[in-house]
Amino acid sequence: MRHFTRLLLGVAAGTLMAGAASAADLTVGFSQIGSESGWRAAETSVTKQEAEKRKVDLKFADAQQKQENQIKALRGFIAQGVDAIFIAPVVETGWDTVLQEAKDAEIPVILLDRGVKASPDLYMTVVASDQVHEGKVAGDWLVKDVGDKTCNVVELQGTTGSSPAINRKKGFEDAIASHANIKITRSQTGDFTRAKGKEVMEGFLKAENGGKNICALYAHNDDMAVGAIQAIKEAGLKPGTDIKVVSIDAVPDIFQAMAAGEANATVELTPNMAGPAFDALEKFKADGTLPPKQIITESKLYTQADDPMKVYEEKKGLGY
């Protein structure tokens, strides 16, 4: 009996929520992985902002890093009859059944930030960044900045074997491949963290004649660069001048470093995956145009010339 009451209450609450939703033009369910990193938190807040801007009723579900929670959330969205589902999948496999259920209910699914291993006709599109391209943008900046001068680069890799580490390394190497004056002389993993970035950079500085043989640092994310900048300072060198610093992600703290002249450039991994997804969805709802199977977000380059303090202020409130 108690269960029945609870069920009734649940149905009542569901009906109420559906009632509130009808005021908006579109109802979209968003299943987020969790909030394991600052970037993820920023993605969540930007998605909510984008939804508000477009008067979309966003139903948000935090999966706390568990696929079963995401599958439950998706089934919940299907039962509520949302107009579309956004999902940032926590793993690549195991989605076929639930995606088929969404397809049967004629609810389009858009994947954010990561892809899945499932038949492409089970989802509408993937909105993601091109990690190889991010590395290439960073490399291109360095190529342009050093010109014909010889430049020995040290590299702080992400977690060994992770896809951003592999792809960002490859992109950077592609960019400098045709420039014999730029060489990667040392490359180690800093596990994407500040502490390891600092420790590994300390090692690099000692191994390269107190840092005198290092012309530039390329870090696979900003956090490692921030740690490395401290190590460079403690070695008595000027980061940004004696050793150029280029990294990827564009988190707020790197803009503070850029404003202080201690970092040179960063490539943005935009937290706005939802914007292009909403665009594609609105177009589809308006005239049935299907978007391409993969939408690549822009990898924007920021340098010291881009008023870093202003960008810092903009990004500070996003939850990074």
Partner: protein, 347 residues
């Protein structure tokens, strides 16, 4: 205290690792003064090894009591998060440090109560805080990396005293105090007694519960201290990554130092030496220029060798490999106990 003979495998291992580091990077032993502090790879070994040394001091006592403290990494994150958040909120340095250390003491006390009074197995009891603690730290920082620029707090991570980096000074002072505490009083002996046989110790009149409470609380204190250093070092509290997996490094340091996981005889100094060995290896890998894919393999290989050298101390190994030993199968078995072996084979 510790005979040189007992410390031989560890000292040899450290010497070999330092020698290999020197081969890979001839400037390894170069030291110069930079901005009023010592600067060089050897200094890095001690400086980077300091947090694990501090954890190992507390961990040694816990392991000697036949326990283990898996929560130290999470306690580091919690103490760091507390220190950073309070600094940003504008509290004075003394209050920040006190609060962070109290967090560590309370965490340790909780572990101690679970083990001593509720009789939970240490691995389970401390696993609770290992998992929950990081979550609490994330709640405190609200998922951000909380950064600060307070020179007083930063001093504990990157400052120096007479040219020696602060983390090393703190680890050394704490180590000396802890060794004096356990060896100049009966405390060390009592902890060993509880570790060897808790019920026998209780029947003999020892207050085992209070002793257990003490070792876990002390371990929490050490973890909080390490957490303050780690946070001050990067000028920010990274709740996701601060102290991540360091509990395993601390346990490894204790094991390399020769303290048995089954409790009993322990040596704080040897555990600190174990921490130095681990860090000398890490620094060496960074200097060697190996691709990062090899880091863990190299580390594992070295550790296996150290532990093997330790368990079949030289005399024992002699017996193990002696021709004819295979004919008598009981011989290698006995050789696993070095002290018994020494008596039989004075080689």
């Amino acid at each position: 205290m510790i005979s040189l003979r007992r410390a031989a495998p560890q000292l040899i291992a450290l010497a070999v690792i330092l020698f290999l580091n020197w081969l890979a990077f001839p400037g390894f032993f170069n030291i110069r003064i930079q901005d009023g502090r010592l600067f060089g790879s050897v200094v890095d070994v001690f400086n980077r090894g300091a947090p694990v040394m501090i954890l190992a001091i507390g961990m040694t006592m816990v392991i000697a009591s036949r326990g283990v403290d898996l929560s130290v990494g999470a306690v580091m994150a919690m103490a760091g998060a507390t220190a950073a958040t309070m600094t940003v909120a504008g509290y004075p340095l003394v209050a920040v440090l006190a609060a962070a250390l109290v967090v560590g003491l309370l965490c340790g006390l909780l572990n101690g109560i679970l083990v001593a009074f509720l009789d939970l197995q240490p691995i389970v009891a401390t696993l609770i805080l290992m998992v929950a603690g990081r979550g609490i730290a994330q709640l405190v920082t609200e998922g951000f990396i909380v950064t600060f620029n307070e020179p007083g707090l930063i001093f504990f991570g990157t400052g120096s005293f007479l040219g020696i980096p602060m983390p090393v000074v703190i680890a050394a002072v704490l180590g000396v105090l802890a060794i004096l505490l356990v060896r100049r009083t009966a405390l060390g002996l009592l902890i060993e007694a509880v570790g060897v046989n808790r019920s026998a110790s209780t029947y003999a009149g020892l207050n085992s519960r209070v002793l257990l409470l003490f070792v876990y609380t002390f371990s929490g204190f050490c973890a909080a201290l390490a957490g303050i250093i780690a946070t001050a070092d990067i000028r920010g509290a990274d709740a996701n990554n601060a102290g991540l997996w360091l509990e395993l490094d601390a346990i490894l340091a204790v094991v390399i130092g020769g303290t048995s996981l089954l409790g009993g005889r322990f040596s704080i100094l040897m555990s600190m030496l174990g921490a130095i060995i681990i860090q000398a290896m890490n620094t060496g890998i960074l200097l060697s220029g190996f691709p990062p894919e090899y880091n863990l393999i190299v580390k594992a290989a070295v550790i296996i060798m150290i532990l093997l050298a330790q368990s079949l101390s030289l005399a024992g190994a002699g017996a193990f490999f002696r021709p004819g030993a295979k004919a008598k199968p009981q011989e290698p078995l006995r050789s696993s106990d070095p002290s018994a072996n020494k008596a039989q084979n004075p080689a």
